[in-house]
């Protein structure tokens, strides 16, 4: 496992002022979570809003969307401050990941998709309970229903034979026509009917 020291050395040593800022921001978040302090939030806001605005402006090239990003990100910070965990990372990284999610949603909102997935589903960083401690995802060993490859067993014989020859034995429709002594047109129509029937069986089962 890497130590905290090697983490920071990879990203350049944190300056004293950055450390102070991080500690201060963590205190403010704790105050917001515990006492719903509007004053603490305002202080946090005045530090982060301009940074978020600059990030949003660079990402969207649009002042209004940048303001939306600031407002939605900071709204989440206000309501979800209790979910910040100081041992998991710095306050600014936490706020950045919230902004990253809002950016994702704003970019997709512009594409006007219906029933669209939201970033909170894809990066559930604001979920109340986030850890699935179980690392084995199978719960029991029951066996499934028997295999159902019987779909094409349900076809009428004439159609099934044609399908078997074409798809299992890999014959061409002309070869099937020759070997069964039936017209090529009949082979084609039986194949078509068989595929249609199979589709119905599969959809029925669905």
């Amino acid at each position: 496992m890497q130590t905290v020291t090697s983490h920071t050395s990879q990203r350049g040593v944190m300056t004293t002022s950055q450390q102070d800022t991080a500690e201060k921001a963590a205190q403010l978040l704790a105050q917001i979570a515990e006492t719903r302090s509007r004053q603490a939030f305002s202080e946090l806001f005045s530090h982060f809003a301009p940074k978020l605005q600059a990030y949003g402006t660079r990402q969207f090239g649009n002042e209004q969307t940048a303001m939306d990003l600031v407002q939605e990100t900071m709204t989440n910070v206000w309501h979800k401050a209790h979910l910040f965990k100081a041992d998991k990372g710095s306050p600014s990284t936490w706020i950045f990941t919230i902004a990253r999610n809002i950016r994702f949603d704003l970019l997709r909102k512009n594409k006007k998709r219906k029933d669209d997935i939201s970033a909170d589903e894809l990066w559930p960083i604001l979920a109340e309970q986030n850890d699935n401690l179980d690392d084995d995802y199978a719960l029991d060993q029951d066996i499934l229903l028997q295999e159902i490859s019987h779909y094409y067993g349900q076809l009428p014989d004439a159609q099934r034979i044609v399908v078997e020859k074409i798809y299992v034995e890999g014959k061409s429709q002309q070869e099937v026509s020759d070997s069964l002594g039936i017209p090529l047109g009949t082979v084609k129509s039986r194949t078509r009917l068989a595929l249609k029937k199979l589709k119905e069986l599969i959809v029925e089962h669905d």
């Binding site: 350049g12 530090h47 809003a49 660079r58 206000w78 970033a119 699935n132 299992v168």
Partner: protein
């Protein structure tokens, strides 16, 4: 031990929010299962934060051109204090399939409501679509023991994550948490032996089956894997 991971480039795009929704889901679910990639992503996020937020010296006290005015700040604060908290995210931790039950990793658990009905494909294969209103086609694929996905190629990329169990193809064996990204036109034949396997897979074009009886599937591959 997970041995097959997304590339650092993919993790970077994941952390920046630049992957498609379907790829974000598959990579995010891998990260839930993989402490190594989780740590890498945390580091990348720190780096991104440093680049996008921390390095900026701008503050309200020293506003730059185009910065928010005091009035704008006050209005926004007022709006935030009057806003309602979003309802907590829904999650379902369990998925069942005909007597078999699986725990879902966190990211997938938050998308459980998007998982559709299980459909039996041919042979020992099942699938359930994950509706992401995305360009990709995302499915949970369940392979019973002794199942084989017919040899196939695909026009686009296919990303597969093993949620539970093990499967093999011509190249390797893949276990819980392994993430496999296959490029277009690379043939492979996933199969299970004595164990079953649940995977999450996303692809951006339908499969094309290349041999034997599986060619029968081609007229339906869009039906199966959409």
């Amino acid at each position: 031990m997970i041995k097959s991971h997304p590339s650092e480039a993919i993790l970077y795009q994941y952390a920046s929010g630049d992957l498609s929704a379907s790829m974000t889901l598959v990579v995010g679910t891998h990260i839930d299962m993989c402490p190594i990639c989780k740590r890498t992503v945390c580091e990348i996020e720190e780096g991104l934060c440093n680049k996008h937020l921390d390095s900026l010296v701008e503050t309200i006290c020293a506003p730059s051109k185009g910065a928010m005015s005091k009035t704008q700040c006050d209005q926004m604060l007022e709006a935030i204090f009057n806003s309602q908290a979003k309802p907590a995210a829904q999650r379902e931790d369990l998925i069942s399939l005909e007597g078999r039950r699986f725990n879902l990793p966190t990211t997938l658990a938050h998308n459980a409501h998007r998982i559709g009905e299980w459909t039996h494909l041919v042979g020992k294969l099942w699938r359930a679509p994950v509706a992401l209103s995305d360009d990709g086609q995302t499915n949970l694929i369940y392979m019973e023991p002794g199942a084989q996905v017919p040899e196939h190629t695909h026009k686009g990329q296919e990303a597969t994550l093993v949620i539970d169990g093990v499967f093999n193809d011509e190249h390797d064996a893949y276990y819980d948490g392994d993430f496999i990204l296959l490029d277009a036109d690379r043939k492979h034949t996933p199969r299970t032996a004595t164990e079953d396997c649940l995977t999450l897979a996303t692809l951006d074009a339908p499969l094309f089956f290349t041999s034997g009886i599986s060619r029968l599937l081609n007229p339906f591959s869009s039906l199966f894997f959409r």
